[in-house]
Point group: none
Chain length 399, copies 2
């Protein structure tokens, strides 16, 4: 890590990611170990004219104390002011900046997974509500920490692991370009073009084929594909993820059939690692779920509510993205989900379909992405009249 | 610092300080560098049956970025959800635990003091409102950090300074007793007994005698002495400060006569150290003030408003208190004000007198305590009919 890389990442988060506007309140979500980056982002936000930077820090060690000691029937309690603040940020049309990357991997691993699963913080359901109403311009960028680096590069010395992770983050965030802001605007253009072509074709379904995967998911008639750019209801463009390499939509939650094998480990918010996840869908619903690690936690999660066992998102990723080429498991959805095509169980994005179709989009308190893509995967679009159109073959767009 | 000391301090804050009740929400205010203690307190609170522990972290480096870069007219802005949360904690009858001790002394010293002064965070005015309405059971305990240790012990190596500060904190918090909780309940009993006797006797005045001091201060007829214990409006006893060694009341601001010599250096909020302070009072008002260091700053302060040159508090500390014997300036009011008997110029506490006398209690924008006690000091109570009753001799209670 150099100061320059930290400053460039902070600047990118503020200028391209959230696209902070003068006079805005900027909410940053930080965790212990990311202070150096939170402070750079705060400074960059104030330089961009922010009215106030409101940092909330989430400490997983305090959560651990709760899961260890608190009475069972209190574990899903969330103080009302958590949701109130989220809604107020929406009402104020604030900007939000989050930092991905685990700070304490494995911290919960010796605790009862059922109890861990009941405490969903730092997730707050009102945040999703505000995001769906497009009331905030937001972004998530990677926040490297030594603990994360050791998880990703366990064979290196701690200092070397941290340097390596930062080098990779700089690479995938295009901080090594002369002008990272310009580089992202260009990549964004490519992704938006692919999304536009997918939207135009109005496919009825997608068919995924790969080792362990033979799976079809239905799309809603009005489904729009999206990439790399969002707009708030008050007209501010932002990039919700940096890096971002995906084009995505919300599928029909009643039509998913077949088996899917995940191609990368999935790391949950509480640090639980789910490995070798295999899921079977029937009529949109998960009817079987196995994993070599984290199986019970995942089963608890998909039982949480009706929508938790159905799909909210399908996303396609080509091999032009810089993440896949690193051949590294980052144990972080932001990076890993942009390494490969993925699907997400749980809540979907009603704004990606017509008002008429919006009630059909999946609803849930959760949203969990898992990677299913690889260079061996073949994704085919199926049109309304049954025609099969190759979309991604060998990681390359066919349309 | 040993784990045992941290755990004992955490346990003391929860069980004796805030006196956390089963089912309560517990709000902890932390700062970077105090994570180790916040986490122990959270665990202790959950073990005591807390429903939820809500930690807010205040990062002075983010505040520095604001003071450096934000527009002038935004510096006093506080997001409405800060006050809303404070009021909600009151409505929920939560417990609150704060940690004293600087984490970044001098961090703002190169910035414009006028701009720094506009941003009052982390102070939120609704917190005071909730405290005054006795809606929360709260406490403040010391939270040692390496940066604080270096300020207190600049001549020691950083590691040794931190060890020394912790050793001192453990000593003054009675963590070295077999049962610190029991030790504090016993000490509290002594202080409450002394306060009760002082209140009962309804002294008309106190007479202080020591080298450089010969000073009489009048008391209001209804003056009540307070010590070591507060009660919430819902009947929970708590100790707002740990350690606490003082019994105190608000005097008659029109009756103070004679000379007082301070016995310890005084540290002002901006870090100025005032040494060898000597003050002369006539008819309640300061008519002369000298100091070997910080004299002009103090003279400016006592001229601030009418009440700034009159007394708002008199506090007696016996030699059973453990802070004075350390002969250390802690640069922290929690510890320094409990080192010795002291008086405070500026605003007083109307709740310590009858409604009828309340308007007579001193009012000012300031409240500055300075230590005047020593083992050589003799404090005598003067009754309404002129009888003289020894109160403190050789640092020992006589009543």
């Amino acid at each position: 890590m150099t100061d320059t890389a930290t400053q460039r990442l902070a600047d990118l988060a503020v200028r391209v990611g959230a696209n902070v506007q003068p006079g805005q309140i900027v909410a940053i979500s930080g965790e212990p170990g990311k202070e150096y980056l939170v402070r750079e982002i705060a400074a960059a936000a104030y330089r961009a004219g922010a009215k106030f930077v409101d940092v909330t820090w989430f400490d997983p060690w305090v959560k651990r104390a709760r899961v260890q000691h608190a009475p069972d029937d209190t574990l899903d309690f969330v103080p009302p002011w958590y949701g109130d603040r989220a809604l107020a940020l929406g009402e104020h049309n604030a900007a939000r900046i989050g930092l991905s990357g685990p700070v304490a991997p494995g911290l919960m691993s010796d605790l009862d997974p059922v109890r861990s699963g009941r405490d969903r913080l730092p997730a707050v359901k009102e945040n999703m509500q505000v995001v769906n109403a497009r009331q905030v311009n937001w972004t998530i960028v990677p926040g490297p920490t030594p603990a994360w680096a050791e998880l990703v590069h366990p064979d290196l010395e701690p200092g070397a692991a941290y340097a390596k992770l930062w080098e990779q983050v700089a690479r995938v965030c295009r901080l090594d370009e002369d002008d990272p802001v310009e580089a992202w605007l260009e990549r964004r253009g490519q992704l938006i073009e692919a999304a536009g072509k997918l939207s135009e074709r109005r496919f009825d379904a997608l068919h995924y084929e790969a080792p362990g995967t033979d799976f079809t998911v239905g799309l809603l008639p009005s489904a729009r594909w999206m990439a790399a750019k969002m707009d708030t209801c008050f007209g501010v463009e932002h990039m919700a993820n940096l890096p971002t390499e995906e084009v995505f939509t919300s599928p029909d939650p009643t039509r998913a059939d077949g088996r899917v094998r995940s191609t990368k480990p999935l790391v949950l918010l509480d640090g639980t690692v789910v490995r070798d996840l295999e899921v079977e869908f029937r009529a949109g619903r998960i009817v079987g779920l196995t994993a070599s690690e984290g199986q019970e936690v995942m089963r608890t999660i998909v039982d949480r509510d009706e929508g938790a066992s159905r799909l909210g998102e399908v996303a396609l990723v080509d091999r032009e993205g810089r993440i896949g080429e690193l051949d590294t498991i980052f144990y972080d959805t932001l990076l890993d989900e942009n390494a490969a095509s993925h699907i997400a169980i749980g809540t979907g994005f009603p704004f990606l379909v017509s008002d008429e179709d919006a009630p059909r989009v999946n609803e849930s308190e959760i949203h969990i992405d898992f990677m299913i893509g690889s260079d061996e995967m073949r994704v085919t679009g199926v049109t309304q009249d049954g025609q099969r159109v190759p979309l991604l073959v060998d990681g390359t767009w066919q349309i």
